[in-house]
Amino acid sequence: MKIAITSSGNELTAAVDQRFGRAAMFILYDIESGEFEVFDNKQNLNATQGAGIQAAQKVFNMGAEALITGHCGPKAFAALSAAGVKIYCGATGTIESAITRYKEGGLTVSTGADVEGHWV
């Protein structure tokens, strides 16, 4: 199973990017194999609006079944939910520690957006 984590860098030692729609990049982590891929989030630079929605589309296309991030706005939340992606907000620290917390059941599935959206 693959999970996506918003990241500020391209290593597992990087910090979890607290934003979803405007996250610097995504790390797609394979739980079983421990391998990971890095995806940039540059498509958002050209959109008129809807960074969160585009990012949700990207996460779905990456084949992630879950998303770990800091905060998630309402449109992004709606899009990810429609995509069937489980959302875990409130992750801080490094990508590595977030993955460990996830595996240990220390992160809770979000039932709604935890911040208001931004207009991008």
Partner: protein, 288 residues
């Protein structure tokens, strides 16, 4: 890091004049002028531009008349009255109306329409006598989609993060449409500057509905309050009923224009209303 946004609903109530004074009063703040349509804050703060970038947003269609068959499908499909043709059968896109949706591009049978990134304006990062400033200028007749406002806010946030600045003060646009929405979503607190008039009262209610919709704590102050004391009291009562906090009143003051002409914030002069603005700032600091 907190974001204070100053809006009004009705235009011309004094947002920018008051914001300029706050920029001077604040100990450590980044300033953002999000009224990208008709920016005025720079006239007082006199920013020195350090960084300037072109801002592209959305797309614009363009018809190549050499490939155009004059079939008229584009004009028929366009929902925005952005395609016109003249008596000679030449079809052109009206850039003032084109919303960059791509329908004409997609359905042109001879692929005669190109779809290009649209230059909408510039954004700037500057230094003022009171610290860093993020601002922008939208091109004439450009689409005011709020994206440039979001870009200015993002620039202000990055400046504040880089320098550990605890506060961003944002001069917002009038109205309640996308530029205002882009200015307030995610902000820590909003100050509505209104005036003691029937219009001011009416427009304030719409703006309070907006901030309530986005769940942002809202403060209000009445500018030029002594033009109509009854109206001022009625507005303050109405604001409280809508869960907004009244943080003060600013008196009508002939010296405001003089300060503007001298490129000074009101509190940098001995205008009578300076005292009122200082009191309001003290109250805002308590609420931050």
């Amino acid at each position: 890091m907190k974001e204070l946004v100053i809006i009004s609903g009705k235009g011309g109530t004094g947002k920018t004049s008051i914001t300029a004074s706050f920029a001077v009063l604040a100990k450590d703040a980044v300033v953002a002028d999000c009224d990208v349509d008709a920016a005025d804050l720079h006239l007082i703060l006199e920013p020195e531009v350090k960084e300037r970038e072109e801002f592209y947003s959305g797309k614009l269609a363009h018809i190549d008349i050499n490939k155009c068959l004059a079939c008229g499908v584009c004009e028929e499909y366009c929902r925005f009255e952005a395609i016109l043709h003249d008596s000679s059968g030449k079809y052109i896109v009206d850039p003032n109306n084109c919303e960059g949706c791509g329908v004409c591009v997609r359905f042109c049978p001879s692929n005669a329409i190109s779809f290009n990134d649209r230059l909408c304006g510039d954004w700037m990062i500057s230094q003022t006598r009171r610290g860093s400033m993020a601002h922008a200028k939208l091109g004439i007749a450009a689409e005011n989609s709020g994206k440039l406002v979001s870009t200015v806010r993002k620039n202000a946030q990055e400046l504040a993060e880089k320098n550990n600045t605890p506060l961003i003060i944002i001069d917002g646009p009038p109205g309640i449409g996308c530029p205002v929405i882009a200015s307030v979503t995610g902000a820590s607190i909003v100050l509505v500057v209104t005036e003691p008039t029937v219009s001011g009262a009416h427009d304030m209610l719409r703006v309070l509905k907006l901030t309530k919709h986005f769940g942002i704590p809202t403060l209000i102050c009445v500018n030029k309050w002594d033009l109509n004391q009854d109206m001022t009291e009625s507005i303050e009562k109405s604001a409280r009923e809508h869960n907004a906090t009244v943080v003060g009143r600013v008196r009508y003051d002939n010296m405001v224009s003089k300060a503007q002409i001298e490129k000074k914030a009101i509190i940098e002069t001995d205008a009578p209303s300076a005292e009122d603005i200082r009191n309001i700032w003290k109250n805002i600091e308590k609420n931050l």
